[in-house]
Amino acid sequence: MSLWVDKHRPNLLNKLDYHKDQATHLKKLVHGGDFPHLLVYGPSGAGKKTRIMCLLRELYGSGVEKLRIEQHHFTTPSNKKLEISTISSNYHIEVNPSDVGNNDRVVIQELIKNVAQVNQLETSCQKDFKVVVLTEVDRLTKDAQHALRRTMEKYMATCRIILCCNSTSKVIPAIQSRCLGVRVAAPAVEEICKILQNVCKKEGLTLPTELAERIAKKSNRNLRRALLTCEACKVQQYPFSGDQDITEPDWELYLRETAALIVQQQTPKRLLEVRGRLYELLTHCIPPDIIMKGLVQELISNCDGELKIEVVQSAAYYEHRLQMGQKAIYHLEAFVAKFMAIYKRFLEDGIADLF
């Protein structure tokens, strides 16, 4: 039994639930049998991958759905062995080059060269190009992106590249200007509601409108998350009731408690406690930037208007350092300490004003 997210994923461009105009445009684009390099961007859970797969299916037919996992081996110029797994069909290959960290340039150059150097023998019944799907392009190093730029032009005849990323901020302009950008906006709350209802109908379940709305709002316009939550709710309690609890991930609750602890008391001792909790989160592989964002959100709702701006400023400052630095814990802790200082000063000023 597969998850609802996979089970009910549309596989044709005209079956997509939202952004229908875009779907017709994409259809026209591949209708001619050819398309330029694409850069698909949008927040997570907006349906980027779904659209890419639909596009490929439109192009090559159902053959693209026969997937296999392959291991590729590369050696860097400095004789380091790399191993990366790819998902491929007869027509396309999908790879996440940032898996190998700093050596992603080698993967890009070698892999695309391998794919592009094989010409299709029979061009009359097949397309004369293959497609390489690169995911998480925004995590590529600058080096790899520069390498990609020339590769894209050089192998235009035998291969098309589809890049998939969350934000174009981290993609160098040279690549952006070589691709056709496709923006996939996250679905609106109403659209998520509608999809949830549809999925439940297909599963033979009834979903109260209230619950659907609550799930949709909780999901932050992330469709994948909404569907997963919905399925979790079903496991927990069926038939659904409008006011049933929506389970949240443990770590979110834990993070919320941590934030509450910080607001309660601002002492070195508490800081030490918080540090332990942050470590706990980090060891459970919650990405530090998500911890930071979650903390900010919780802390901000607890303080006054003027303070909010100051807190966000310092959050932005420490988050930047977190990205630049090596050890996440220092920066998270620094932010917590900074917040405590700001908050305490504010409280003391407030007390001083009273007298």
Binding site: P36, S169, R178, L180, K308, I309, A316
Partner: protein, 378 residues
């Protein structure tokens, strides 16, 4: 009958040959080979489809280069004398630097010899010190003859084009120094870069420097219209202005956008919104909304507004670029306030480049804006 067949074969042969020789001769011979059999014509059409218009409409001779009169006149003078100095071209992207040198070398050597006489190295090719020492040096050491295979005279030197040379490492540039001087008899160098300040002084002083200007609105418009006519595209006036505005004087960008738009909208008129969507430009209404949220002095409103923008998939980089244009024109702020905001903008830009979180950075920026707008006036 027999004769006709042979004629056909010959034409096919010509097409093949033209195709093998690559883009340059291809388009010249296109008219000649046009009346071939229908199958050939179809083949031609299919291969043509893969050529990006940027390549297709690259200037073929120096005269075709748009808007860079100064450079063109100097180059033409030196072409008459069949000689070139070492060249250093610099200027923003998409202004025709590479096109100019390619066109010039084609005029010097003719289409046949270009392959042998020109070495083009690009940032994405390996270009460390090793390559300069081996590949460039070896290539430049070869002597070039002063005659063509058919006996006509041709300039007795080769050209090394180092594209995007500002991304070459300093040691690699330093290694080039002596090579450049030693091989003046047989080789001319042409360095192309965006920022002349990244080229080390000894190299810069060995070259004749040319600055390439961003293209004017009129030049861009003329070229784009020409392409529209040739490709049979309907493009509204509004869309054309949008295209020119978003390109910011970058011809390559403008042409790529136009081609993408035409691919998306087959046989339909291209509109302003299409161009904006392709270029990833955020609509003015969204920006206005954000600025309105800044006026509200409520953190929550601002927060939801920013979150919506990011959820819609807009890029933070694009957002701050457009926000900057708006801020500079805002009348309610005085110069000091504007400079405070712009300073923050610069910091945020740097942080985003380093890969910081978009939401937090944009919140920090708009927070400063909100403070400046709502609190400094008292």
């Amino acid at each position: 009958m027999n004769y006709g067949d042979r004629q056909n074969n010959k034409k096919k042969y010509l097409t093949m040959q033209a195709f093998l020789k690559g883009g340059s001769t291809f388009s010249k011979n296109k008219e000649k080979t046009a009346p071939t059999t229908s199958k050939d014509a179809k083949d031609l059409k299919e291969t043509k489809k893969h050529i990006p218009w940027v390549e297709k409409y690259r200037p073929r001779c120096v005269d075709d280069v748009a808007h860079q009169e100064e450079v063109v006149s100097v180059l033409k003078k030196s072409l008459e004398g069949e000689d070139l100095p070492n060249l250093l071209f610099y200027g923003p992207p998409g202004t025709g630097k590479t096109s100019t040198i390619l066109a010039a070398s084609r005029e010097l050597f003719g289409a046949d010899l270009v392959k042998q006489r020109v070495l083009e190295l690009n940032a994405s090719d390996e270009r460390g010190i090793d390559v300069v020492r081996k590949k460039v040096k070896n290539f430049s050491q070869l002597t070039a003859s002063g005659t063509r295979p058919n006996g006509k005279p041709c300039p007795p030197f080769k050209i090394v084009i180092l594209d995007e040379s500002d991304s070459m490492t300093r040691p690699a540039q330093a290694a080039l120094r002596r090579t450049m001087e030693k091989q003046t008899k047989t080789t001319r160098f042409c360095l192309i870069c965006n920022y002349v300040s990244r080229i080390i002084e000894p190299i810069a002083s060995r070259c004749a420097k040319f600055r390439f200007m961003p293209l004017s609105v009129k030049t861009l418009g003329d070229r784009l219209k020409m392409i529209c006519e040739k490709e049979n595209i309907q493009c509204s006036e509004e869309a054309m202005t949008a295209l020119i505005d978003t390109s910011g004087g970058d011809m390559r960008k403008a042409i790529t956008y136009l081609q993408s738009a035409s691919r998306l909208k087959v046989d339909e008129e291209i509109t302003k919104t299409d161009i904006f969507e392709i270029a990833g430009v955020i609509l003015d209404e969204v920006i206005d909304q954000l600025i309105k949220a800044c006026h509200s002095d409520s953190y929550e409103k601002l927060g939801t507004c920013v979150k919506d923008i990011i959820c819609d998939g807009h890029s933070a980089m694009q957002l701050i670029t457009q926000l900057h244009d708006k801020i500079v024109q805002m009348e309610e702020l005085d110069d000091k306030q504007k400079s405070i905001i712009c300073e923050k903008l610069a910091i945020v830009d740097k942080c985003l480049m380093d890969g910081a979180d978009e939401f937090l950075q944009i919140m920090a920026l708009t927070g400063v804006m909100m403070q400046q707008i709502c609190h400094e006036q008292k």
